[in-house]
Subunit: 143 residues, 2 copies
DNA sequence: ACTATGTAATTGTATTATACAACCATTTTC
DNA sequence: GAAAATGGTTGTATAATACAATTACATAGT
């Protein structure tokens, strides 16, 4: 593989992440930080899940996700369903309010993306999306 | 623009950033966190620069970069050159040790990228790199 | 059946990256 | 030359995270 291409990917990823994280932390997008947003996404699209499963999904420590989900519950975005087979466990289910907040947030994020991609062709955007998705999938298979 | 494509990009970017930041902070790559790595990159490829310029480049607060560069100096990766025309200012220049550390770190990062892109064609990788770069450029023009 | 060990989750504590505000020392402007 | 602006540092607060200890329940081995 061409070294130059790899270097470009490596550098641009680093830059992307640097810039995006400095925007998103502290000046959080709407009401939800990135963690909260993705937790809600996960619960909405893959159904109720426990803390452990969510932590695994994002490669975060369970304690971190425990606090994050507690915050979501406190805001009324999710609620707990005790696991009928296991007295220790429960799963987190989305509420209407949570769905609303997620959708609102997603709209804001999309607006931002649209601005950035203003000058892109449909084709180019599609390729970019596909490759990002593929990259994420490949990345999770590693490690 | 097709809504579905935008949603995919938005989601995959969020996932990418979530995963990558949880890997890189706390389990930092080698000796350099992402900030330090990009600061060294910037100094190496664009020459000596002051704290303010570096902060602008990464959209970080000056105080943050001041501390980060102080840490780099303390480790011997950069040194200060007082600005001959302005007694308040100076620029940060890379040292041999800094260059070495950067190169070493870059190699580790590349190794990781190579693993992820193992199954990708050269062509696909190139397109991905180009689009990432374009995305970053477009993103900086906004905002 | 009882004890061991394992496991889902929470809570305590420490660290790190960050921002904002106050400040210091110069430089520029009027 | 005084006032305002500027480059940089330091104090302080916050947020996200990890790791360790703990709690409460579950499972396995004898």
């Amino acid at each position: 593989m061409n070294e130059h291409v790899l270097e470009m990917i490596e550098l641009e990823l680093a830059i992307l992440i640097r810039r995006t994280t400095s925007i998103s932390s502290h000046k959080k997008f709407g009401n939800l930080d990135r963690s909260a947003y993705l937790l809600l996404h996960q619960i909405i699209s893959n159904g109720a899940a426990g803390v452990k499963a969510l932590a695994g999904e994002f490669q975060l420590d369970i304690s971190t996700v425990s606090r994050q989900t507690a915050a979501l519950e406190q805001k009324g975005y999710v609620y707990r369903i005790p696991d009928p087979l296991d007295g220790r466990a429960y799963s987190l289910q989305i509420t209407e309010l949570g769905k609303k907040e997620y959708t609102e947030n997603k709209r804001e994020r999309l607006t931002r993306i649209v601005e950035v991609l203003e000058s892109w062709s449909e084709e180019e955007s599609k390729v970019f999306g596909d490759l990002l998705k593929k990259f994420n999938q490949c990345a999770i298979q590693e490690q």
